[in-house]
């Protein structure tokens, strides 16, 4: 399997996700510069976390217009899987590859902590190593992670099983207290309708190594390798 990690100015989890991918794939991903309008054929494109363009104007807004995004959109349209983590998720909603928008956390503060996630479906490229309904722990680290979508949009996501993860408590219950940022319906990650694009706020790559306090994220990368090799 081959993967690409896009580097925007201000990306800061590009190295982290590259390390996690390399561990799963056995070889490093290609790093693609935001100014490039083309890059080699890959089986997976990753938009990493960080503060591209300083999160100025709106998170992800300026990056959504980067040269490289035209190509990412084209490939996503052809079914190439795309994973956006944190800032990457924000870029995906801003570029229209995923519905909704990410807004300032309800607390108005940056939040960095372990969060429990309920896996809403194990039936996808990205979540095949998880059971539907399983509780996993990832790390949230963001200032603008409050997912917004109107009621009609939310119903559509639910009907088409496009919700990938929801914030949940220790016992796997999706409660308001378990919601770290005010997201509509505790949504932490969503798919496009074909489930080939996943955007999520919490960081699986920061839970892919026992030294960092957990390994629940590793299964996502290993599952991808299995599905895409």
């Amino acid at each position: 399997m081959k993967a690409a990690v896009v580097v925007f100015p201000g990306s800061n989890c590009d190295r982290d996700v590259a390390v996690a991918l390399e561990r799963a794939m056995g070889r490093p991903p290609v790093m693609v510069w935001h100014k490039d309008s083309d890059f080699e054929d890959v089986d997976l494109v990753v938009l990493p976390g960080g503060f591209s363009y300083g999160d100025y104007l709106r998170v992800g807004a300026i990056s959504a217009h980067a040269n490289v995004m035209r190509e990412v959109k084209r490939r996503a349209g052809k079914g190439v899987p795309v994973l956006g983590i944190c800032n990457g998720f924000q870029v995906l909603t801003e570029s229209g590859l995923l519905p909704g928008a990410l807004m300032r956390n309800k607390s108005l503060r940056f939040v960095c902590k372990d969060v429990g996630l309920k896996v809403e479906t194990g039936q996808s490229l990205f979540t095949s190593r998880y059971e539907t309904g399983q509780r996993v722990t990832f790390m949230a680290a963001h200032h603008d992670g409050s997912y917004f979508i109107d009621d009609a949009g939310r119903r559509q996501l639910e009907d088409r099983e496009q919700i990938a993860f929801r914030y949940c408590d220790e016992r796997g219950q999706v409660t308001p207290e378990a919601n770290p940022n005010g997201s509509v319906a505790n949504i932490a990650g969503i798919f496009n309708s074909e489930k080939t694009v996943l955007g999520m706020m919490p960081h699986p790559e920061r839970m892919a190594d026992p030294v960092l306090g957990g390994e629940d994220g590793r299964a996502m990368f290993e599952g991808l390798v299995e599905a895409l090799s």
């Binding site: 807004a61 300026i62 217009h65 801003e94 909704g100 928008a101 300032r104 607390s107 409050s146 917004f148």
Partner: protein
Amino acid sequence: MKARIHVTLKSGVLDPQGKAIEHALSQLGFQGVDEARTGKVIELNLAESDPERAREQVDLMCRQLLANPVIENYDIELTT
């Protein structure tokens, strides 16, 4: 020409910053304030001097970049 663009949240979209301001004002002892809403203002200097063309240009900027139609409205004021 100069353009001043107001970008505000659509009604129905939660504005935690507005809520925080309301709360802080009441803590400070200001009574009778409600419905605080926050937004952004962006000011630009344009080389374009024709108001109609300038407005078109700025409108396009707003749709493409400056506002997110999922959550925001915008309005444009032009001055010379």
